[in-house]
């Protein structure tokens, strides 16, 4: 009787051990399978992102292509006519001056005002983030107070002042932008957007306007002495 019970216990123990081993082996294999699956889906996600990127980039290229096509057609029709040619050149010059920020411009847009009494709390980052957000909503001209923002414009805190284009700007700090007003306001006030953190410390006020005027950059601020055009034949 006793021998029987012992052998029963032993065999049950044996079954438990085998089951345990099988179970752990199975878990392990499932886990490794899951890892492989994850990797595959990661690869897939990467591919989808890449495809979307290419698609967007291609759209930009097509816009550029169309623009060139239109310009070339104009040149083509002005061939041999020097007055026409001069006019085309002057048009192009005028256009590039606007792109370069060498003209006063106006249009619809927004102003972002940092309250004067909080101006000591304003950091360069705050201004940079707001500018960046406005750029991301396709702003076409930007200024901090009366300093036009161009490609080389820096924003820097120096001894309690903020310097833009190497010039002190005095509080209250006002960012002006020519941009689609509704888009800009939505982007700035988005949850988790540029203004959310800033508003904890600073009273910021965003206002739409139909008539934003943005001054030109003073030409002596544009330096190109270190740039050499790449020679092409």
């Amino acid at each position: 009787m006793k021998a029987k019970r012992v052998s029963r216990n032993i065999s049950i123990a044996l079954i438990c051990v085998i089951l345990g081993l099988a179970l752990s082996w199975q878990f392990q294999s499932i886990r490794s399978n899951a890892k492989v699956m994850n990797l595959e889906s990661q690869k897939k996600d990467d591919l989808v992102v890449k495809i979307l990127n290419e698609q967007k980039n291609n759209e930009n290229l097509r816009a550029k292509l169309n623009e060139l096509q239109v310009q070339l057609n104009k040149f083509e029709s002005a061939r041999g006519n020097s007055d026409e040619n001069l006019k085309l050149l002057t048009d192009e010059i005028q256009k590039l001056k606007t792109v370069a920020g060498l003209t006063d411009v106006k249009g619809k847009g927004v102003t972002v005002t940092f309250a004067k009494e909080d101006s000591l709390n304003v950091e360069d980052d705050d201004l940079l983030f707001v500018l960046n957000e406005l750029r991301a909503t396709d702003a076409q001209a930007l200024a901090i107070n009366d300093q036009r923002i161009i490609d080389t414009t820096e924003v820097r805190v120096a001894g309690g002042y903020i310097m833009v284009n190497g010039r002190h700007v005095t509080p209250p700090y006002v960012i002006k932008a020519i941009v689609d007003p509704d888009n800009a306001v939505n982007a700035l006030n988005m949850i988790g957007g540029a203004l959310e953190k800033i508003k904890l410390f600073i009273d910021v006020h965003v206002e739409k306007s139909d008539n934003i005027e943005i001054p030109k950059i003073s030409e002596e601020l544009i330096r190109t002495d270190k740039l050499k055009p790449v020679e092409k034949d």
């Binding site: 199975q26 290229l61 550029k64 411009v105």
Partner: protein, 246 residues
């Protein structure tokens, strides 16, 4: 004796069940994997290839048209007035970022930290390069007097944004993933000093983000490549300054 038999039968049944369950689960997992792999990946890769090819063909066409335009402008600048205009045009192109340029400066590369394997969703954000990192680096370069800047060969102009878009960063409406290469032309030593002087780089490297800064001669920065008309479509020029210029 009877009892022993029972246990033996049970033993076999359990083994059988265990094996069955394992095989079953493995096969389903395999099936799913197979499906995802063959069906989607293949198709997606084809799509990607065709998009890249389309982009290449656009680029080729653009280069050709730009050359044509150059020829026209050269041919038209025969008399004095036109030569003057051509020179002004070249200067404006240079400052608008519409010219490929070269010069001395610095090259910075930014890459995510080689993260530890187990990081939770919150702390992983500390180890990757954000738009704010790039924004700050670019601003430092501007403070250091950079005259031309590019991110992954995307020329930075006055309205170039640098924003996070999922795992990529959007610059000039084009998207780029890590690593980021920022090039700046200016005084190399000055640029290097302003970059490393304010703790910005230290902050990134402390978190394990991979940052390199190299001073280099003869850096090439490409021109801004999107369409120009889209940059100024909403701008109305206030007073025509043609008298004042030059």
């Amino acid at each position: 004796m009877k009892f022993r038999d029972n246990i033996f039968i049970l033993f076999i049944i359990f083994i059988w069940l265990g094996a069955l369950a394992t095989i079953q689960i493995r096969s389903t997992v395999d099936m799913q994997r197979q499906n995802a792999e063959t069906l989607d990946l293949g198709k997606l890769k084809d799509q990607l290839d065709s998009k890249i090819k389309l982009g290449e063909s656009y680029k080729a066409q653009i280069t050709k048209l730009e050359n044509d335009k150059e020829v026209f402008i050269k041919a038209s600048s025969t008399n004095a007035a036109n030569v003057q205009s051509k020179m002004e045009l070249d200067y404006l192109r240079l400052i608008c970022g519409l010219t490929d340029i070269t010069g001395d400066g610095v090259i910075i590369t930014l890459n995510d930290a080689e993260g530890p394997d187990v990081v939770d969703a919150d702390s992983v954000m500390d180890y990757i390069i954000h738009d704010s990192d790039i924004l700050n680096v670019v601003n430092q370069l501007r403070i250091g007097g950079a005259q031309a800047i590019s991110i992954n060969n995307e020329r930075i102009i006055s309205t170039s944004e640098q924003v996070c878009a999922g795992p990529t960063i959007k610059v000039n409406s084009n998207r780029y993933a890590v690593p980021y290469e920022i090039k700046a032309i200016g005084d190399p030593r000055e640029l290097y000093a302003t970059l490393t002087g304010n703790g910005l780089i230290d902050e990134m490297t402390t978190l394990g983000k991979r940052v390199t800064i190299t001073q280099k001669e003869g850096i090439e920065i490409p021109k801004f490549s999107n369409d120009i008309s889209g940059l100024i479509s909403k701008l109305e020029v206030v007073n025509n300054e043609s008298k004042k210029s030059k």
